[in-house]
């Protein structure tokens, strides 16, 4: 079981409170596949529908690390895989 924390706007879209718990292989791709299957409204909101690339202003953090540039098929940290630490989907900081 993997714990996913969505940013506020995506929690509103998906109509969920707090963390989302998903049963998936511990990779970004598998977690996002499962998220989008459960919440179709999130399709296109985290990664591009066609290319499957992460949207430019979305970041993936876990265990105090930025996983945004990791391969979507790379294993997530063991602490995420076991549910000890959450997988964070974050809207990038915007200045101005």
């Amino acid at each position: 079981m993997i714990r996913v924390v969505l940013p506020a706007h995506l929690r509103t879209l998906a109509r969920v409170d707090g963390e989302v718990r998903v049963e998936a292989l511990p990779t970004q791709r598998a977690v996002l596949d499962e998220l989008e299957a459960r919440f179709p409204v999130l399709c296109g909101a985290i990664r591009d529908r066609v290319t499957q690339r992460r949207r430019p202003f979305v970041r993936f953090f876990a265990c105090e690390r930025d996983l945004s540039h990791d391969s979507p098929d790379a294993p997530l940290p063991a602490e995420v895989a076991t549910g000890e630490e959450p997988f964070l989907v974050v809207g990038a900081m915007a200045g101005g």
């Binding site: 409204v41 399709c43 985290i46 529908r49 066609v50």
Partner: protein, 371 residues
């Protein structure tokens, strides 16, 4: 008594403003979709309780929202705007080929007679159609594929299809306008298209009267005269009386002919409204005086309408989709500003009052006249 509902899209959410036919006491609901850009929201002429809204974000992309109860509740619909086939390229700012990439929906145009039929104008410029209430979308690819698409180039605001006009008499005729490509017309329901820009001149392109490349800001039509079109171009206010086959300038005595929106009076097809803006680099009214200009002669002769509008220190803009009219008598005229004000004139432009003053920057205003 009739009621008025005004759908306002802003940089940070949507608002619904409602009043009775006097248009004096307004109830303001919102923000809906707080924090998201609402480029456009519009009701179905066939079912006024059916509303569509384009909700987008630089972070989280595009959503299409639909309400079936006049804006009280909303549900996300389909957001798969996938270009037909291999998308190909258009010109980028530096003149190099750039792949077509979907960015957002600028404009939603519901069908006149089917609540489930709605068109979407998107960036990068293309026209999509849904026949199932926004659940699924298909591109009308003949527009991008008619021949000139590869030469289209974005304006400073992006390469957007921002205007969709559905002919009220000929159901197969559709007009679309793109910045910065120009105006286009289909006579077969969107299958095939042709540019309709003869008569436009634009100093910002190397061939000033080229077939495409013009930065059309907005086109308007009165339903009783679907062959007459009015256009606010980047610079110049234009008119066509032959369904866009040819255009002539009707800027006349306007103090500046730069601007974004253009509207036609609900009951007088020769009465039109524009909001002159100082220039393409100074997007605010001349001398800090916000004025709507009205022509009762279909252009050329214009009068300033200023009563109730700020006449000093006003440096807001009025964007292309941020004006609308109601169909009461006298006709109501509405517009929103980048400063967050939404103004109404309940007497066809003579006197103006703010409905609300401090919304986020207004991107779009659409009015519904309800029974």
């Amino acid at each position: 008594m009739s009621r008025i509902r005004v759908l306002v899209g802003t940089r940070k959410g949507a608002f619904v403003l409602e009043a009775d036919g006097k248009r004096e006491d307004w109830r303001i609901e919102g923000p809906f979709f707080a924090g998201w850009e609402i480029y456009h929201a519009k009701g179905s002429p066939a079912d006024p309780q059916r509303l569509y809204a384009s909700q987008s974000s630089g972070w989280f992309g595009q959503q299409i929202q639909r309400s079936d109860d006049g804006g009280r509740t909303w549900n996300p619909m389909g957001n798969a705007f996938v270009y037909d086939g291999v998308p190909g390229t258009h010109q980028w700012y530096d003149g190099t080929p750039h792949p077509w990439e979907f960015a957002r929906v600028w404009h939603l145009e519901p069908s006149r007679d089917d609540p489930d039929s709605v068109y979407a104008g998107v960036e990068d410029a293309a026209l999509f159609h849904s026949r199932d209430g926004g659940a699924t979308w298909g591109e009308l690819a003949g527009l991008r594929g008619h021949g000139s698409g590869a030469s289209w180039q974005p304006g400073a605001g992006g390469m957007c299809l921002h205007t969709i006009l559905l002919d009220p008499v000929d159901a197969r005729r559709i007009y679309a306008a793109i910045s910065a490509a120009g105006a286009f017309r289909s006579d077969d329901g969107g299958a095939t298209w042709k540019p309709i820009n003869r008569g436009l001149r634009s100093a910002q392109i190397p061939d000033q009267d080229a077939e495409v490349g013009h930065c059309v800001h907005r086109i308007a039509m009165h339903p009783s005269r679907p062959h007459t079109l009015y256009m606010q171009k980047h610079w110049d206010v234009m008119r066509s009386d032959d369904a866009g086959e040819s255009w002539r300038e009707v800027s006349g005595n306007l103090p500046t002919d730069f601007g974004f929106p253009i509207e036609v009076h609900a009951h007088e097809p020769e009465t039109i409204y524009v909001v002159p803006i100082k220039s393409d680099s100074e997007h605010f009214p001349i001398d800090g005086q916000l004025r709507v200009y009205r022509s009762r002669t279909g252009g050329d002769e214009w009068e300033a309408l200023a009563e109730g509008l700020p006449q000093r220190d006003c440096y807001v803009n009025v964007l292309r989709d941020a004006s609308s009219i109601d169909s009461l008598d006298p006709c109501g005229v509405y517009f929103g500003t980048t400063g967050g004000q939404v103004y109404v004139s309940a007497d066809a432009g003579e006197r103006w009052t703010p409905i609300v003053r401090d919304l986020p920057a207004v991107l779009s205003v659409e009015v519904q006249t309800l029974p």
